[in-house]
């Protein structure tokens, strides 16, 4: 995702979170909160297209489902569906996705460090 797109997304997320809190709109706050981390990661790692898309789908999808399900939805085993999604999707899936992507795509070699140390401070 290009940096410009990430910035536009970030601005929209910040406005949504702000207006959602001030005007009392759960949907605006939820969408702002879901898009915010995606936009920030995109700003730091614009090349992570698929990971970010998946992260966005998981965050937006789960929060939307929670808002749409009346009373947390039907029971799935011992928990309401919404709570099960919150505990067993909203925590582990982004954790595996983002942490794995960080380890997999982290790119810093000794030559990069040497070049940095040689850079003129002024």
């Amino acid at each position: 995702m290009a940096q410009r797109s990430a910035l536009v997304l970030l601005a929209l997320a910040a406005l949504a979170a702000l207006l959602g809190s001030v005007m009392g709109s759960p949907w605006l706050l939820a969408m702002g909160g879901a898009v915010f981390p995606v936009a920030l990661i995109a700003l730091g790692a614009p090349r992570l297209r698929w990971t970010l898309l998946l992260l966005g789908i998981v965050l937006v999808g789960v929060l939307s489902t929670l808002l749409l399900l009346p009373d947390g939805g039907p029971d799935v085993g011992p928990l309401p569906l919404g709570t099960a999604l919150m505990l067993f999707v909203l925590v582990p899936v982004p954790f595996i996705l983002v942490s794995w992507a960080y380890a997999a795509f982290f790119d810093l070699r000794e030559e990069d460090l040497e070049r940095l140390r040689r850079a003129d401070p002024r």
């Binding site: 910035l7 970030l10 601005a11 910040a14 979170a17 702000l18 959602g20 809190s21 001030v22 005007m23 009392g24 759960p26 706050l29 939820a30 702002g32 909160g33 915010f36 981390p37 920030l40 990661i41 700003l43 730091g44 992260l55 965050l59 929060l63 929670l66 808002l67 009373d71 947390g72 085993g77 011992p78 928990l79 309401p80 919404g82 709570t83 999604l85 919150m86 505990l87 909203l90 925590v91 582990p92 899936v93 982004p94 954790f95 983002v98 942490s99 992507a101 960080y102 380890a103 982290f106 810093l108 000794e110 990069d112 460090l113 070049r115 940095l116 850079a119 003129d120 401070p121 002024r122």
Partner: protein, 489 residues
Amino acid sequence: MPILDKPLIVVVAVLYLAVCVGLGIWSLRRTRNAQDFWIAGQALGVVVTGIATMAAAFSGFVFVGGPGLTYRIGLSSLFINVSIGFTAGLLGWTVAKRLRLLAEVRDVYTIPDAVLCRYRSRLASGAAAVAVLIGTVGYLGTQLLALGVVMKAALGIESALLAVALGTAVILFYSTAGGMVAGIWTDVFQGGLMLLAAVGIFFYAMDAGGGFGEITRSISESERFGRQFLEPFGETPVLMPLGFFFVFGIGVLGQPHMLHKFFMLRDPRRLKWLPLILGGSQVVCLLIWLGLGLAVPALVAQGKLPPLEKPDDAAPLFLLNFAPDLLAGLAVAAILAAIMSTADSFTNLGAAALVRDLPKALGRQVGNELLWGRIATVGVTLAAAVTAYLYNDLIALLGTFSFGTFGAALAPALAVGLNWKRVTAAAATASIITGTVLNLVMELKLIPLPPGALPTAVSLAASFVVLLLVSWLTKGEEIDEDVRAVMEA
């Protein structure tokens, strides 16, 4: 909280305090200069950094306040935590690498140092130092007050003042003697204890309640709690859990007690494992919140525990009545550890703000930073302890306010500013000041909000909006070549 007067619990608590003092003595000889004192000589491995960051991030609230909050409002309280699924990665992608690389090319020991390097603005750096100092006094005060409560209960001390004084003395000893070297190694010891206790208590809690299925059935069928307790939004206004998700998910980017640890990593290339270690240890630690948060209401519903008069008694009551003494002792030590590991980070940060950051912002430099750092550590801790003792009610407000202050003041300038070159010094300064001031205004409820809306969510979102807006409205500035290289790495 009831008095935990079982001998084994007292023994384990005293042993724990003795180990902390021992680590302070051990660290004293390894603290030779300012770099050792502020950033532990920049000599840590990635596992140590990850565990220490987790220990600093999770205060006693996770072990005591969390289960209590769940007892009161149900599983919607878990929205405070569910963002840990992405926060470790978010920290990695946006700030960890940039901050650590800044410390590779410059003498960057603190967050205001990093702000000064990035923006070349003493005003922005000074504003960041003031935000750190304000948040530190509040956060540290909250931790010391909680420490007094737990020490009083664990050791059977009657005087609250004596309990706070004893706990503070131990923290002060190792923080002053060993600075961050002591802080880090006690954090690692404390983090290990927290992980061990969290796993042990989770399984005991599940067992005591009759297993996960029986626990949720008891809660769901009880008149006191009902199915609503288990629903994601429960009885709380929907804005509150969603606000938790946003504030704790994004505000984490401005918490100096976590970010500061990144400067201490020896080899920046090892950062690649940080999100896995930090996030993984956070997930494990939160088992205690989930375990006790579910088991205690279930035990009340099953008639095995009387209804709680104070929700914060959930953890201590379970430990006294259902856990074996050794595990209860370990849990008390873990609670002390959670509080002290957060507190020691703040003694160091507060001292750095006074001795290093504010003088720098005023164009001055303190002569003997190591000596003055030690003196300032005592000063900041005593100021926070006095504030905590005198303004008991206000401290609860300050705890929330402090997290919000850090998030709203620092997250935009760091998370956006270290990744987008167009952010100007004026934008960073405006955002830091907006975050700090608006957070105070919102916490004091000077501006009315809809039911359930979190004041901190407003200040956090507003400071991002201000940063972006001012950056777009002001002219782009030159960035030093080495800082530019760090941002492009």
